[in-house]
């Protein structure tokens, strides 16, 4: 999405434009759902959680930040909602199993069925490995490597020192690589 496009969308939502809000929901539903899924670990819960996040964003639309600050702010709101959700569900860490249905339903642009299956399998492997990480490492990998936020933004969202994020980011990638390898051995190759 172009920055100007996003700014227009944000301005429209802040002004209470229903069409702008609908466009916003349709554009960010995949992203918010992916983030919710990384916390909830279950497709149905992720749908509920993603909806809660959108409702919260809608209620706070007058306070939306503009420009480059919007996405980190949105992720912070989503993260806070997710933590509340997990607290309510009394589950600190999501189950260490991958939802195969979610892997199958991934929107893949791959042309052939074989390539799609292979791609889906690789993503499923990554998702399964991510589920096995500790909560803080998973959050860092998801925010930094999956959603592409900067180290400063991740530190700000998680409320931990910059140095901790730096050191944990590299360690989390190593841990993820180990888990991917272990899972791949179990499945018979990467």
């Amino acid at each position: 999405m172009e920055p100007d496009d996003l700014s227009t969308l944000i301005d429209g939502c802040r002004a209470g434009d229903a069409l702008a809000w609908e466009a916003f929901v349709r554009r960010f539903q995949g992203r918010v759902f992916a983030l919710a899924y990384s916390y909830a670990g279950d497709r149905e819960d992720a749908r509920d959680l993603a909806q809660e996040i959108f409702v919260r964003l809608y209620e706070a639309r007058a306070q939306w930040l503009t420009g480059d600050e919007f996405l980190p702010w949105m992720f912070r709101v989503a993260r806070n909602r997710s933590v509340d959700f997990l607290r309510r569900r009394k589950v600190r860490t999501p189950p260490a199993t991958v939802d195969e249905a979610a892997v199958d339903e991934l929107a893949d642009p791959a042309p052939s069925a074989e390539a799609r299956a292979l791609d889906s399998d690789r993503r499923g492997l990554l998702r399964a490995a991510l589920r096995g990480l500790s909560a803080i490492n998973r959050e860092i990998v998801v925010l930094r490597d999956v959603h592409g936020l900067s180290i400063q933004q991740v530190a700000s969202i998680l409320g931990i020192p910059l140095g901790t994020v730096k050191s944990r980011a590299s360690r989390a990638r190593v841990e993820l690589a180990e888990r991917v390898l272990a899972l791949a051995r179990g499945r018979g190759g990467v």
Binding site: W21, E22, V25, R26, Q29, G30, R31, F33, A34, Y37, R43, A46, R47, A50, Q51, F54, V55, Y58, R88, A102, E105, L106, A107, R122, R123, L125, L126, R127, L130, V141, D145, V146, H147, G148, G163, T164, K166, S167, S170, R171, R173, V174, L176, A177, E178, V180, L181, V190
Partner: protein
């Protein structure tokens, strides 16, 4: 016994920046490695032995580990593709419905319902209810002993109706037992009156309030009883009208002889 855990040993190997390699801890690490086969394998697999005490930065070591895990880094490069997931059909519509403007009354109802659910789901809710109920009980009926006496006397009255003689004997015994433990009566004849006058005004107000509540409850109970009786009578009369009892057979006229 060494205080090092597997995590702390591996963290020290990976991340010397946040886990300074104090030479005084080296015996602990060595002791841990001697007894922990998993950590030995881990360090050997990732070539971390020389990094454990060397001054190589953590980032470089992480890169070297990733390089050893051939093929994985290509997979990790696909992490950004996980940024979006299809939430399934109808999700956007569901969100739009949830965020569409609703009547104020409905919103208030929803908010109250949510607030009530949040209160009920609190882990100490039962304790809080018990506490509030106890406070209400004490405020209405006085102290718990008074409430117990009030309840006991009523139970006694009911029991007396049903059982009669044995209960009377038991009550006499209880009265004599209570009199034995009761405080000495005041010497002056007007002392009791004076004692009553010295009751704290707030306490008197609470007692008056409790009395009113009891009277109100009795009134409501009587009204309900009256209403129920009226309804029952009305239903009975309706039933009687719809299905009247069979008429008495008329006596056959006396035959003339």
């Amino acid at each position: 016994m060494s205080g090092m855990t597997c995590d702390s040993v591996r963290a020290a190997a990976l991340d010397p920046g946040t886990h300074p390699r104090d030479w005084m801890r080296r015996p602990e690490v060595d002791a841990h490695l001697r007894r922990c086969e998993n950590c030995r394998d881990w360090i050997e697999a990732f070539g971390a032995g020389e990094h454990l005490w060397a001054a190589e930065p953590a980032e470089a070591f992480a890169d070297s580990v990733l390089a050893r895990t051939a093929g994985v880094e290509a997979l990790l490069a696909e992490l950004p593709s996980l940024a979006e997931m299809d939430p399934g059909p109808g999700f956007a519509e569901r969100v739009l419905v949830a965020t569409s403007r609703r009547p104020a009354a409905a919103r208030w109802r929803v908010r109250w319902a949510e607030a009530w659910r949040a209160v009920v789901r609190r882990p100490r809710f039962a304790w809080e209810v018990a506490y509030v109920a106890t406070v209400c009980w004490v405020l209405i009926f006085g102290n718990p002993v008074g409430a117990w006496e009030w309840g006991a006397s009523n139970i006694g009255a009911i029991a007396q109706e049903r059982l009669g003689g044995p209960v009377n004997e038991l009550r006499t015994d209880l009265e004599s037992w209570r009199a034995r433990w009761a405080p000495e009566p005041a010497a002056a004849p007007g002392a009791a009156r004076q004692q009553v006058d010295h009751v704290h005004p707030a306490l008197r107000a609470w007692q008056a309030g409790a009395e009113r509540i009891q009277r109100g409850a009795a009134y409501v109970f009587d009204a309900l009883k009256h209403a129920w009786t009226s309804i029952a009578e009305w239903v009975a009369s309706l039933v009687q009208q719809m299905w009247p009892p069979p008429a008495e057979p008329q006596a056959s006229p006396a035959r003339s002889t």
